[in-house]
Symmetry: C2
Subunit: 301 residues, 2 copies
């Protein structure tokens, strides 16, 4: 199970009851938070997302609509008595900001806040069931995208075939990772005879705020679902470029070029009340496009 729940889909200024950027990734038993605009903790209350289940937070860049809610979330976690570690990934200067804010408030967090400054593209965190990579995008200031991938054993055991071949269930986990089995009698049971290839692990890429740039299609090549910003409709391509943002057509072009299965679009400018045209314009280029709507969870196909 890999899904994304949208907590905020608007660009800089909150408007039309839309909120600044925040998304929660559900990856099997794990929750991750990507970006944390002002009011994210209130949106979590509204959509019943438990702060205590989040152990990893990823901040794409230091424009306020992507992180002004972070310090409030972190201090609330402390006030609620959190003890487990919290991993925070973001541009290096983020640490200076929350260190200062905690210091002036004379606040000691009751948990370890482990900060990981973003420095190089590539693997950021890998655990048994998931891995997260980061990549640079093209914005006015340093800005990062993230790819979340399920990690799966390469093969699935066929328990009936394995049993008939005399393989004990204690060996099944090694079968999943491709090992052959040798019986007491010295017979080699080839792995492929008792296992099937695992279903493909799913992946979700969040491309943050960026100029239109085909390099992004290379960086997110083949992910199952791509979130790409569409701050403006297609008629404002020049404004989008001047402000280091994208239009519907540009986002859809990235999705098509990258060969993703599904495109989610958001970061809508506060100048737009209605969002329908974002969807219809993007679908001209990439039909499997959906609006990122607040409170909705999108399951990665």
């Amino acid at each position: 199970m890999l899904a994304v729940t949208i907590l905020g889909n608007n660009s800089a200024i909150p408007a039309f009851d839309r909120h600044p950027t925040a998304q929660v990734i559900t990856l099997d038993d794990h929750l991750f938070l990507i970006d944390c605009g002002e009011g994210t903790q209130t949106q979590m209350n509204k959509y019943k997302i438990r702060r205590s289940r989040i152990n990893h937070i990823f901040i794409s860049h230091l424009h306020g609509d992507h992180y002004f809610g972070l310090i409030g979330l972190i201090t609330s976690m402390g006030l609620l008595g959190r003890h487990q570690d919290l991993n925070l990934y973001g541009p290096a200067l983020l640490k200076d900001i929350f260190d200062l804010q905690l210091r002036v408030a004379d606040t000691q967090l009751p948990f370890n806040l482990i900060f990981h400054p973003l420095q190089e593209e590539g693997l950021l965190v890998k655990e048994t069931r998931f891995q997260v990579d980061c990549f640079r995008v093209f914005h006015r200031i340093e800005c990062w995208g993230f790819i979340f991938r399920q990690v799966r054993p390469p093969r699935r055991v066929n328990p009936e075939k394995a049993r008939i071949s005399g393989i004990p269930s204690s060996f099944f986990d090694r079968l999943k990772w491709g090992e052959d089995y040798e019986t007491k009698e010295g017979t080699l049971i080839q792995n492929a005879t008792v296992t099937d290839p695992a279903p493909l692990a799913r992946s979700y890429a969040y491309s943050a705020d960026t100029l239109f740039h085909l390099d992004i299609a290379v960086k997110v090549q083949g992910v199952n679902m791509l979130y790409h910003e569409t701050t403006y409709l297609k008629d404002l391509e020049e404004r989008a470029r001047n402000r280091y943002h994208c239009t519907t057509i540009q986002a859809a072009t990235i999705a098509k070029t990258a060969g993703v299965k599904q495109l989610l679009i958001g970061h809508f400018s506060s100048k737009y009340d209605k969002l329908d045209e974002f969807e219809s314009e993007a679908r001209e280029v990439f039909p499997n496009t959906y609006l990122a709507l607040e409170g909705v969870s999108y399951i990665v196909p």
Copy 2:
């Protein structure tokens, strides 16, 4: 006209759809903002308060539930093209925080943000129609209260009497300030014969987060309306003391000792879902007490 509109009445953690502290003062044609917890700009949208009309913001102290919404409000003002000066009053370190946050975002505000660090008790700002004083309260970190006062000419002109006495309307403004008028024939018209004493100017005191301390009653003596925190009900007096906060009975005791006309209570702990008991307990000591409810404007009597 002097009134206060409550945008947030809760203490540290947002809960039960209550928000962290923020209040808007309407003083004749002026709007002032006191404290600015996370989500204040969204509350302003909800209650139709125009950001552009606010020229003075007062921050009591640097606990997050009183200022985490400030940087978002300020940057939104910039994005909306504000040009007029904005005056900000708060503890000195507040400047370090917003300077850092603007710097990392590479943001240049299109207006002057004039910061006034709080240093001494007494007069903070005085203009033709109002003045604001600040005073220290007793919290875990440096913390300030504020008193907003209308400034009125001492007298009101009776236009009919003045006309009969031959005083031109161009002289009326000087009559308001108590001058006598000498006619062309040399007759002295005594001011009191053509004017009446002005109604008393109104005042509102905001006492911020504080321990129970009778000095506060001295500092806010005689104001028309006092806002005083009541983080806890009366049975939690020890907890209130340990956390530098007050109970209902303590807030009401300050109001009674200070001889104010009306008491407004707020900063309710997130442990309380219902608020009725706050009102009933405070009224045991000071009957003219009201709960500070979000979205409600209280007119200073």
